[in-house]
Symmetry: C2
Subunit: 408 residues, 2 copies
Amino acid sequence: MKPFFQVKTSEEIHNIIKTLPRLTEENIGVKDGLDRVLGKDILSPEDLPHFPRATMDGFAVRAKDTFGASEAVPALLTLAGEIGMGQEARVPIEPGHCFRIATGGMLPPGTDAVAMIEHSQQLDSKTIEIFKPVSPLDHVIQVGEDIKKAQPVLMAGQRLRPQDLGILAGLGIINLPVYCHPKAAIISTGDEIVPVENQPPPGFIRDMNSMTLQALTIQAGAIPEFLGRTKDRFDELKSLCQKGLDQNDMVLISGGSSVGARDYTLEVIHSFSGSEVLAHGISISPGKPTILARIGNKILWGLPGHVVSAMIVFTLFVKPSLKQLEGEKIDRSLLGIQARLNRNIASAQGREDYIRVSLQKGKQGWEAMPILGKSGLISTMVRADGLIRIDQNCEGLEKGEWVEVMLF
Amino acid sequence: MKPFFQVKTSEEIHNIIKTLPRLTEENIGVKDGLDRVLGKDILSPEDLPHFPRATMDGFAVRAKDTFGASEAVPALLTLAGEIGMGQEARVPIEPGHCFRIATGGMLPPGTDAVAMIEHSQQLDSKTIEIFKPVSPLDHVIQVGEDIKKAQPVLMAGQRLRPQDLGILAGLGIINLPVYCHPKAAIISTGDEIVPVENQPPPGFIRDMNSMTLQALTIQAGAIPEFLGRTKDRFDELKSLCQKGLDQNDMVLISGGSSVGARDYTLEVIHSFSGSEVLAHGISISPGKPTILARIGNKILWGLPGHVVSAMIVFTLFVKPSLKQLEGEKIDRSLLGIQARLNRNIASAQGREDYIRVSLQKGKQGWEAMPILGKSGLISTMVRADGLIRIDQNCEGLEKGEWVEVMLF
């Protein structure tokens, strides 16, 4: 077997990924902004709110008029009127007066607090008893308290969540600069692969890898384009790669776990001018037979043929590379949940291992059960809830140890 | 203030949610199956793989012909041919023979293992030296080892992940029964609300809640339909609710945190025949002023007007109710990550509290920093990474305690 001539650690691969250039930006409406990555920092164009608002139903007051109030000796205030919702409160308050106000209503000039309706009683049409003193700003949102004019709202590189769209909407920012979604071509190789619709004769199998990769690509925020299957022939693979590079930001070649297939992929990469193989082999298990190359300003991944290995390499490296192209600065998809290992796992020192686990709720929180099985068996991924990592300097993990599980 | 006359605990609300009936099913193509919820159990129609496959490049052998082989005394085997990829291997092996085979190739009848190419050497065109013995089944995936005919593949109620689509594709299951996506109408109420595009005069604010709720609905796997804004008037709200109920599985009424607005919502609910208020108030903070009702076979939520409260109620209850309608049996979106609290938090006993937190990487893993702030301030949700829960029997949490953070 030809050796892997340029094996990189996962850290080195991540460092390469960090150098990939971001895609261009486009403008979209805020209502289409969910899960898009912001292209520019956004500063607030105005104060939010732009008027002082009540946060409780009750009476807008001058706080000092309630000082010393109690059940026994309530403050007696003159009801000067009612502030309707969506009404500008223009009339300043006079000492000893109050205005009826509902949650969200505008505080009249001179008022600085809201006395809750629960702590009040109407004596007659003009007189309100307040039983509990309020401090200035009690039950009030001040002008700019949510966000001040010119203050940063959101930063470039943030993937937009519902609340992010909410604050943008609240500020009237209805057009957003976002990075374009990366486009990834997917090519299946292998003389033994038939389309999913076909009944494979002996020796042939259906193309499950490209189905899996398309879905993973969508989950990573990118747009997959499945270019089809090719036999292990140089010309066919080269022509599909050319098409993939022309129309996409990235090409994913799936299959080709045999030495011959890997060799074709390398040959095809080298045949493009301006191509550079950045990694040929990653020192992880499973997933070692991976190729990372740059062709012009496009990225090409040659993924392992075994479906489990391909999924793990996608999760650890391809997804972050797509997120890098899309300009995302904080990727929280690799945040893990804590679980206790329910058996020992051995690991060879000097190799970073990724172990499939399923989770079950135990007495002391989550328990992670390793799923051992060949990396050609997709059923092991179907049974798995996530992955745990064993460092290359570690000889294994013991039953009962806490581990971090990256969820699929 | 009119009291909440039917306050329920969060556990009671979850028990109500579990009784909601599932939506009907539809059939879709497997390539459109990502994040859909399977409507029926799937049994495997065939063995996967349906022929024995090599998992390494090397030589298909009878394992016993290699027993005792070593570097010093290799096993000498006669090369009987090569199994190409995508080729049916029909010729049975003879004792002392071997076939060249690549990863994924079909093992010929009579062979039971693959000797790795790394442990072999070709002596001449007909003779292969094997330096290391193999055991039966070494480097082989057997017929049905991934999944056996008639074995359960996936169960009704599972939300389909990339690997789930992969195994379905591998088995040739190209049409899937899935539950329909729930449709949720969103109605904004409030005299003070203006459309996002408008410049609000004093006393008015832009409609940030409905933007947030639409995005949350999409994240929950459902289809939002924004029906527009209505003033706090019975007729308008009733007519929008009628439209929402006619065309959707659920109606979400946003806004109406004032007593008056809540009263309108209740009046409208009661005005529908066959309506039942299931909860009026939930004993959590924030989020208490929530209404849950059933109108015929449709669900109506009256959400708190404060945007933070509305988001928390959506996350804790509305999302699970949408997932219940869609038939999802395991909701992993509420799985939390472990973090250490970086300050004390007090909590009133008898009330279930939800605290916004931001996360930062500390020396001992994640640290959760509580974000305190009024529930009308959406910026607190923008700064937050997730929520932690304080049980109603708990008077607070201490700095340094481990907490589980539900990520937004």
